[in-house]
Amino acid sequence: MRRHTRRVYNVCYRFVGNRTEAEDISQEVFLRVYRTLASYRSAHGGFATWMTSVTRNLLIDHYRRTKRDRLTDSLDDAMPVVESKESSARRPDEQALLGELSGQVQSALTRLSPELREAVILRDLQQLEYAEIQQVLGVPEGTVKSRINRGRIELARILQHMGVRPS
């Protein structure tokens, strides 16, 4: 239970970049898994892969929902307010992390498009195999590889723009 919680929470946190939201989504994931447990078939891959797949679907749902909210906010010309909200929602340890390379990578990740972001998270942070990522995302292996490649390059460029020099 704790192992699954940790993995799901990590995927969520890396994707949304916010602990509170990651907690909420993790709870949703477990609720969804609990309700749809009967639909799980071992033929679909391991339980962990299936759970990651559920997590990914909910993250995409969350992204779309918040995107609509962000658009509404921008229509109200409230972008600065959103930024200040985001910065105030960050806990002190998250603020401190931003000063470190891992914090900067995390910050850069949230600027990636969701398709590339999820591919990079699954491959480089969760260290899943290509076949597992293929099952989670439901796309061919070629697409998975291409997304991971583009995601890495995009992330490296974002970091360059942020002024982060590779070690």
Partner: protein
């Protein structure tokens, strides 16, 4: 074949993960070495991948597990202090606890008996450490002496029994030895065993009698007891 920048970009991850063949990798490196645009990009991506793979997992807050359990299995029951006490007392009334308590009491009884505390006339002075030590020491010495004596007694008894049994067997076997056998031809140089058997048995009986006398002299009490 010379690689273009687009090709380098397209196959960058394969290079980073070591999935290119040796000729492909050398072509890749050849281009990167001479390209001012690709070189920093490849270095950045390599460093980025290394950094991401070494990033530690974030610890989930402990409350998350409880929140998930509450949401999936329902909220936990809130138990008042007196309910908790009642549950504890109910837990005591189980056979498991009764067996445990009985074994603890038996252990205490054995330990206290071994330390020389009299249950008929219990005294507070018996619990004094010096008295406890003296009693335990005395009990231990008595127990050791008793067991040593018991073992040596047993040894003597078994010795006597085995000697007697051996003698009985000898006596049973002897008549058969003397039974008339079919006349056998005497070969030249063959000796007659019968003429030597009698003195041998006599010697053995004498020796046994000597040993029994010696044992009786050494431990008269045991000897007397075993023949009583």
């Amino acid at each position: 074949m010379t690689w273009t920048c687009d090709q380098i970009e397209a196959r960058l991850s394969e290079y980073v993960e070591g999935q290119l063949t040796a000729p492909e990798a050398s072509e890749f490196e050849l281009h990167v070495k001479g390209c001012p645009e690709c070189a920093p990009l490849v270095a950045s991506v390599k460093s980025l991948v290394r950094e991401m793979r070494s990033m530690e997992q974030v610890e989930a807050p402990p409350r998350l597990v409880y929140a998930i359990l509450d949401q999936t299995l329902g909220p936990r029951e809130r138990v008042t202090f007196w309910q908790a006490v009642g549950n504890f007392l109910r837990g005591l009334a189980t056979p498991k606890f009764a067996y445990g308590a009985a074994s603890v009491m038996a252990t205490c009884f054995i330990v206290l008996s071994a330390s020389g505390i009299s249950f008929r006339k219990p005294k507070l002075a018996d619990l004094h450490p010096a008295t406890l030590y003296r009693n335990v020491d005395r009990q231990a010495h008595i127990a050791i002496a008793k067991s040593v004596k018991y073992v040596s007694d047993l040894r003597v008894v078994y010795e006597i029994q085995s000697r007697l049994r051996q003698e009985e067997n000898q006596l049973q076997v002897t008549p058969e030895d003397h039974a008339p056998n079919a006349p056998t031809e005497k070969k030249p140089g063959q000796t007659d065993d019968q003429s030597h058997t009698q003195p041998k048995q006599q010697n053995r009986a004498n020796e046994l009698a000597r040993q029994v006398e010696m044992l009786a002299a050494e431990c008269p009490l045991m000897f007397e007891r075993s023949f009583r």
